[in-house]
Symmetry: none
DNA sequence: CTCTTTTTGGTACCTGGTAATAAAGGCTAC
DNA sequence: GTAGCCTTTATTACCAGGTACCAAAAAGAG
């Protein structure tokens, strides 16, 4: 058995669910052409919860409105969030985000998604961006779906370091290192 | 059997679910002290969907809402522009730009003003942010007027370096070094 | 050609329901 | 009284979308 197919399938599975978290295992068997048991093993390996749990998580996030994310002001759609650890958000570039001339996204929209995620992932009353070092790897074009992944690298004390990578499909389009100030109170994790 | 208890129960049921839509029928039997069948008949009468449907609806709403936000073409009013030299823009923070909790502006709005200006100041068909190194010196609060000043430090070749300082009054609140890609030499096409 | 990993298949069980049907409780009308 | 009616409760069958586990087949790797 080639090592690739499995990893490719895992990537594909993650991508599909990031794009559309409403897919059941049965629908995934159709999309990936493997048995339902394989899908379930894959989800297990990738630590992706079942459909109902995913929906519940989404519902909870939108319901709470407490926590560090007033959802309406967040750029992008946060589909996974492990406070103080990591997070994933989706954002699709459409007309209002791009230069009309070239169809290329304005940098600050790409930044906004990454920044929103970096702030959201910090489990604190108040979290503010202190500084950032960012790189636009390749232009993002109209219609492209950006998947931003944030990883908290260090969160001791008042400053947390968060690394964010933004992808379009497999391709990295943006990378940023954020330093986030936190209100200091509840750091325990 | 009193006619009232039923209507009262219906009201109570609606109230409970509005307050906490995550309640299962079983939990409701405990709260209302009737059988689970009664709860289900009540939900039927009141046209309240089952728990899973409620969660799904909430998840769907949170999924396709967020995408849009008031980030239009250029952030800030450009009041002075000397192409390839310098520029100034103004931007006032209001409710939609700040964390409702703290009244502090979200970093990406401050960044967006600076980024817009850095791109605008470059005299070329196409100008894109390649990378940036930014620092939020102090938080910007609701109602504050930000004055961003951009200076082109070097513009030879395909990359231009632009330095942006943002002030509220005399106070510097943000500073960034941008590297901007330009489509070619300024004299071309 | 073995040995291990991966994939598939199947069963039992769980949650939070729907749907249908029957039975019991309570109240009114005659 | 008791018949009629609504409300409530109980029972059973069924479903979706899983989990958990076991066994066997398929596919590589050595």
């Amino acid at each position: 058995m080639e090592r690739l197919p499995k990893r490719q399938r895992h990537q594909e599975l993650s991508r599909l669910l990031e794009e559309n978290p409403f897919l059941t295992d049965r629908e995934l068997t159709r999309l990936l052409k493997v048995s339902i048991q394989t899908i379930r093993l894959d989800r297990l390996e990738l630590a992706i919860p079942e459909l109902r749990e995913r929906l519940k998580l989404m519902a909870e996030r939108s319901h709470d409105s407490v926590r560090s994310l007033p959802l309406h002001e967040v750029i992008g759609d946060i589909v996974d969030l492990q406070l103080d650890k990591s997070g994933i958000s989706l954002f699709e570039m459409n007309e209002e985000h791009v230069f009309s001339r070239s169809g290329i996204a304005r940098g600050h929209h790409v930044f906004a998604q990454a920044n929103s995620l970096a702030v959201a992932v910090i489990n604190d009353e108040i979290a503010l961006t202190a500084s950032a070092d960012i790189r636009f790897v390749r232009p993002v074009k109209l219609g492209e779906k950006c998947i931003a992944k944030a990883y908290v690298r260090s969160s001791g004390g008042q400053k947390a370091k968060v690394e964010v990578f933004t992808y379009v499909g497999e391709e990295m389009v943006f990378q940023g290192n954020f330093v986030i100030y936190r209100s200091a109170a509840e750091s325990k994790t």
